[in-house]
């Protein structure tokens, strides 16, 4: 009996390391903030070869921990759905999460998130520095109390202007990549929602263009125009699904392929010339493709890419912070307050490359530093050769967020005509683009299933003819083998030769 106990204890000892792993770390008195964010979505230093932190990017988490005496447990997710499932399985395991627009809407509608305090909404850095445009957008949609925006942007095409003379003209419509001229030259996202948007925009192109005419002609106002575009882009009835499916299937034949993350590298490598992209990725792609000088002065060749938002409509996307039910709201608000300082927003924009929802002097000055081509900082608007530059108006975004360095109405960046089509147009869309940019609502379960089914058909159909041939040949082969077995079975007892008889065994 004793022996049995001892050996059982020993075999349990084999499991002990696992048990210890599960037990987790020891607790101390430092408050802990549990943050759940996208991968690569906050400024952090690059790890150098010896494992120590480099000094290239600001370590925002470490700074926050030092400043506020908080320990941050930072984890990351890859898709909104993974994040949502994690929250469903372990409710109350995070204080702050950063899903995308539609997932935020879903979480709000399901009552999964805590409200922000009045004090935060009125007095925080977010209240002070977040762009008025973003705040209005949130107010109009009723999200103000539940979510704050982190990064935002539009969707459009990144393209190589050298691919054809008419490319800019062709891509002023979403339908441009259906053109046989760009066969095997374009990629779209391997993502249901983004590609659905593209399909709908093309399926209802005529209606959208009529609206645009009315808006340009002054028959309808900006708000009305935007509301009607939003209605069209959120259609999910059977007819729309069918049209969208057909549009996307016919596009598939003309595409290079779908992509999740490889579109950027494929553009830079020149494998493709048009990429359906989120504005943030577009900036990254254009930066990467550009020619540049290395530190020792050698010139590295590259190409200048452009970004365009077609004239039918676009999609406004954003990722934002929400506090799941049961969160430590006070700490979570402190963290957002910290991130909303313009200088920290700059650190994030530097690292991530996306556009922060935070405005303010530091952000604007960084943008001037990045994009403004004026030769004279005091008398802007002319380049080194004295040619007039194009004003790029960012007042809609920055007005009212300055600490006094800039007056409202002065938030203008001067760029050359070519540059106005590049990074800056992806970093900050113009007001004219925003008028025709719609928010895509979240689909309820039933619609979601129908849209997914549509996408599955786009991805899985049509079956090439040769596949049927292969299947037929294999089926025929199986039949032949089966028949031969039957035939063999019959011949198992060979007929005795003439003059002989079979002697039965046993």
């Amino acid at each position: 009996m004793k022996k049995k106990v001892i050996s059982s204890v020993l075999s349990l000892c084999l499991l002990l390391p696992f048990a210890m792993m599960l037990a987790g770390c020891a607790t101390d008195n430092t408050p802990v903030l549990r943050v759940y964010n996208w991968e690569d979505y906050i400024s952090e230093p690059t790890e150098s070869e010896d494992g120590s932190a480099g000094d290239d990017y600001v370590d925002l988490i470490a700074e926050f921990e030092k400043e506020c005496g908080v320990r941050v447990e930072y984890s990351t997710f890859g898709t909104n759905e993974n994040m949502y499932n994690e929250l469903q399985i372990n409710p109350g395991s995070y204080d702050l999460v950063c899903p995308s627009d539609y997932m935020i809407m879903k979480m709000i509608s399901e009552g999964m998130v805590e409200e922000f305090s009045d004090d935060f909404l009125q007095n925080s850095n977010y209240a002070k520095y977040a762009s008025p445009y973003i705040k209005n957008l949130f107010e109009d949609n009723g999200w103000t109390k539940y979510a704050v925006a982190y990064m935002w942007g539009t969707m459009g095409y990144v393209y190589d202007p050298a691919i054809s003379e008419s490319v800019e003209q062709d891509l002023s419509s979403w339908a441009g990549i259906w053109n046989a001229r760009y066969a095997s030259k374009a990629t779209i996202k391997d993502s249901v929602r983004d590609s659905y948007f593209l399909g709908v925009a093309v399926a209802y192109r005529e209606e959208l263009m009529q609206l645009k005419e009315q808006y340009d002609g002054g028959t309808i106002g900006a708000d009305d125009y935007n509301a009607r575009i939003t209605e069209i882009m959120n259609r999910t009835d059977e007819d729309t699904l069918e049209k969208t499916k057909n549009a996307l299937i016919s596009l598939k034949e003309n595409l290079y392929g779908f992509e999740v993350d490889s579109g950027k590298q494929d553009m830079v490598a020149g494998r493709i010339s048009i990429n359906f992209a989120w504005s943030g990725d577009a900036v990254y792609t254009m930066d990467d493709a550009e020619p540049y000088y290395e530190e020792d002065g050698t010139y590295v060749e590259g190409i200048y890419l452009n970004y365009i938002v077609p004239e039918e409509c676009s999609n406004i996307w954003f990722d934002g912070w929400v506090m799941p039910k049961g969160a430590n709201t006070e700490l979570a608000e402190t963290f957002i307050d910290f991130l909303s300082r313009p200088e920290n927003a700059v650190a994030n924009m530097n690292y991530i490359g996306y556009t922060s929802s935070i405005a303010g002097d530091a952000v604007f000055e960084e943008m001037v530093d990045w994009y403004d081509e004026s030769a004279d900082p005091d008398n802007r608007g002319f380049d080194e050769d004295g040619n007039a530059l194009v004003p790029y108006d960012l007042n809609y975004f920055f007005n009212g967020t300055s600490d006094g360095n800039h007056a409202d109405g002065d938030f203008i960046i001067y760029v050359s005509e070519e540059s106005a089509k590049r990074q800056i147009s992806a970093q900050y869309p113009t007001e004219e683009v925003l008028v025709r940019s719609a928010i895509m609502q979240h689909f309820d379960d039933e619609i979601n299933a129908a849209v997914n089914e549509m996408w599955e058909e786009v991805k899985g159909l049509p079956i090439p003819v040769w596949a049927y041939v292969v299947i037929a040949v294999i089926a025929a082969g199986i039949v032949v083998i089966a028949l031969s077995y039957v035939y063999k079975g019959k011949r198992k007892d060979p007929k005795p030769k003439k003059g002989y008889t079979v002697v039965k065994k046993g």
Binding site: S7, G78, V192, G257, F258, E453, E456, G460
Partner: protein
């Protein structure tokens, strides 16, 4: 002094726990999810996933395409691997093991890395972005060829030479000896190789995604989609079960479950 004596039963405990935790319980979870659905926040028993699968054009065509890709990949693997394994096993070359090592060597390099490299290579040749099916099959063959070579080599190497000599003595020419003696005797290796290549070819979506630019959907990809993006674990589990059944049937047909003789089982090592 205390003497420790482990009985066989007790030594089994760690593995038994592992088996229960990571094999049996997950299997039941998959079964549970496959035959339930979530409606209004409540989970209830249902055959809806099963019916949906066999009435959806998209899913059936994905099944068909996975099948086709897997069958072609397996056939190509067999055609390449058999002569190679045969020559290698029959040759009198003393450093055979070194040669064999060379064929297995690619398996030691991370597979994602190899597929990414292959993508660059296909781009260089000009196949990338145009020949999606061909690329996927090339990728599968490239990836799974060692799994075909190894069992074939093991069986062919163990083949008793006296059988072949006897067949030759009885007047069989080389072709007859091969078709009547060598090939039938190497069947266990062939079957083992086919199972090793066919099954992963139906599910290894990293290959099809990377080399076809997400143009080709195979069953593994579909399962992944249901778990990660469509957020429908029920259908994902159902497809996994259907795949399991397909694999089970393949094993049954090819005789993978047979308690064969010693030499036949020897080749099923892999």
């Amino acid at each position: 002094m205390v003497k420790f004596h482990f009985s066989r039963k007790q030594l089994c405990i760690p593995y038994a726990l592992f088996l229960i935790l990571f094999v049996i319980i997950p299997m039941f979870l998959i079964l549970f999810y496959a035959f339930t659905e979530t409606a209004d926040g409540a989970i209830r028993f249902s055959f809806a996933n099963f019916i949906d699968f066999f009435t959806s054009a998209a899913k059936l065509s994905t099944l068909l395409m996975s099948f086709t890709v897997a069958i072609i990949s397996t056939a190509v693997c067999l055609l390449i691997a058999y002569p190679l394994a045969y020559i290698l096993a029959r040759s009198k070359f003393k450093k055979k093991n070194v040669l064999l090592m060379l064929f297995i060597l690619p398996m030691w390099i991370n597979f994602v890395l190899r597929i990414t490299a292959l993508r660059e290579l296909l781009d260089l040749i000009g196949l990338l972005g145009t020949e999606n099916y061909l690329n996927t099959i090339i990728g599968m063959v490239y990836d799974f060829l060692p799994f075909m070579i190894l069992p074939l080599y093991t069986t062919l190497e163990k083949l008793d030479n006296s059988y072949l000599e006897a067949a030759a003595d009885l007047g069989g020419n080389k072709f007859t000896v091969f078709t009547k003696v060598t090939f039938p005797l190497s069947m266990p290796g062939v079957i083992s190789g086919i199972t090793m290549v066919f099954m992963p070819s139906m599910t290894n979506y990293v290959v099809s995604d990377t080399l076809s630019n997400f143009n080709i959907t195979i069953l593994g990809k579909l399962i992944d989609q249901y778990f990660t993006t469509y957020d429908n674990w029920h259908m994902g589990s159902m497809i996994s079960i259907i795949l399991l059944v397909i694999i089970f049937i393949t094993m049954l047909v090819t005789g993978g479950f047979k308690d064969g003789k010693q030499e036949a089982r020897g080749a099923n090592l892999w």
